[in-house]
């Protein structure tokens, strides 16, 4: 049986052809830094980050829509923390709070229904960002709203699904040799959806947890597969990910949401990569106008968020990194969001 020291030795001594492995998920990017994994493995194995930062890939028109509600009388916007500082066309939500916008942090979308029930004279609007991991939470909130007949809640959604983005990456970034699949998205989706990708593009897709040992085991697995000409899906986050995923979560998501095209900053519009509230009442009544929010602001000249998001460059290869662009003065969302690669690289640099 292999142990962790053998895995580390193998990866440190690796002298095969240079490999590029994508860590799709922002939380993995952070975990890789926290664990110091890059220093444990050969330079010939390059880890690059992917589009797994929901805030980073959300265009400005979504922020503008949410900001509009925050500035509207008798409306309160509820959002996760990251979204507060991401710039829209007229500044971020945090900036707008200074001009009278009503935007509050939420820990869970369920709070929207609780607050709406307690304050019937206000409309609560949820900035519903996320991937497959969070979609079921929004679905639960909608179900709660419907069952309690709470009508003063709206959801403006920027929900995206990972597999279409991975397809885009495989088509447009063929130099990526293997994928560290997102851990918590996979809790919901299961490992099955990666199968067709592994088969069509002949690359390994391996699901990782978030401890150093999880991630090292996955990198080892991917490298071994490549060396042996294999291209398979493997689940190495067994505690939490089942082949079939979380069926209840998948069912409730499907009950309230349907797929549609979505605009990903850095990638463009991808068909069927977004989730939108179903239109028939009463579900459709909870939609705050989520379709067609495709327009983006022009990122400042020199900003290379788009390239960072698809793994063409690492954050430290952007000329603005840690110079003009820093968390205190961010140019692009990758530096702002907790799961943005640039912010993570910045906070972890020596």
């Amino acid at each position: 049986m292999t142990d962790i020291s053998e895995v580390i030795k193998y990866l440190k001594d690796y002298k095969g052809r240079p490999l590029k492995l994508m860590e799709v998920c922002g939380t993995h990017t952070a975990a890789i830094f926290k664990s110091g994994i890059r220093s444990m493995i050969s330079d010939r194995i390059k880890l690059i980050s992917g589009p797994g930062c929901p805030v980073c890939v959300t265009p400005a028109s979504f922020i503008d829509k949410c900001a509009g509600y925050a500035m509207k009388e008798d409306h309160v916007l509820l959002t996760f923390g990251d979204m507060m500082k991401v710039p829209g066309s007229s500044g971020s939500l945090a900036d707008l709070k200074g001009r009278g916008a009503r935007a509050e942090l939420m820990y869970s979308p369920m709070e929207a229904v609780e607050k709406a029930r307690a304050n019937p004279d206000k409309t609560y609007v949820v900035a519903a960002v996320g991937f497959e991991t969070t979609a079921p939470a929004y679905a639960l909130a909608i179900e709660e709203g419907i069952s309690q007949d709470v009508r003063n809640v709206r959801f403006v959604t920027a929900l995206k699904t990972v597999v279409p983005a991975l397809t885009w990456i495989c088509e447009n970034q063929p130099d990526i040799d293997g994928f560290i699949c997102p851990g918590h998205v996979s809790v919901i989706t299961g490992s099955r959806p990666y199968g067709p990708l592994a088969e069509k593009y002949h690359k390994p897709f391996v699901i990782a947890g978030f401890e150093a040992e999880h991630i090292l085991a996955v990198i080892y697995e991917i490298v071994r597969q490549i060396e042996n000409g294999r291209a398979e899906v493997r689940n190495l986050y067994e505690n939490a990910v089942r082949t079939e995923g979380n069926i209840k979560a998948l069912k409730i998501t499907e009950k309230y949401f349907q797929p549609g095209p979505a605009m990903w900053r850095g990638l463009g519009t991808i068909e069927d990569s977004g989730l939108y509230l179903r239109e028939e009442p009463p579900v459709g009544l909870y939609d705050g106008g989520s379709r067609g929010l495709d327009e983006d602001i022009q990122l400042p000249r020199g900003c290379r968020c788009g390239d960072v998001i698809v793994g063409r460059i690492n954050p430290d290869e952007c000329p603005m990194f840690a110079g003009q662009c820093s968390p205190g003065n961010p140019f692009g969302p990758c530096m702002v969001s907790a799961e943005g690669a640039c912010g993570i690289w910045y906070r972890n640099r020596k």
Binding site: M1, T2, D3, I4, V7, V24, C25, G26, T27, H28, G52, C53, P54, F80, Y107, S108, P109, M110, E111, G130, F131, T133, T134, P136, A137, L140, E143, V162, P182, H184, V185, V187, I188, G209, E211, E213, H214, A217, Y220, E221, R224, N228, R230, E232, L236, E238, N239, A240, V241, N246, K248, A249, I252, E339
Partner: protein, 73 residues
């Protein structure tokens, strides 16, 4: 992408559970899972998204034991 944290189920009532995160107790929606008291659940955005089957140490042992399986003759 999605930060989720494991916590221990302390009590259950309808669709909610009191979950203990190393001393910090929070109410969590358990509509997506079927946990028992004493089990660990993975919590994201106030909702439990999965029941953790084994403890972390057991899981890592299992992962490493299986790493070489595909390469055995």
């Amino acid at each position: 992408m999605c930060i989720a944290i494991p916590g221990k189920v302390v009590s259950l009532e309808n669709n909610k559970a009191k979950v203990d995160f190393s001393g910090n107790t929070v109410m969590v929606n358990v509509g997506l899972v079927e946990p028992k008291i004493g089990q660990y659940v993975l919590v994201h955005a106030g909702c439990a998204i999965e029941v953790m089957e084994k403890d972390k140490a057991e899981e890592l042992i299992s992962i490493f034991a299986e790493l070489e399986e595909p390469y055995k003759a």
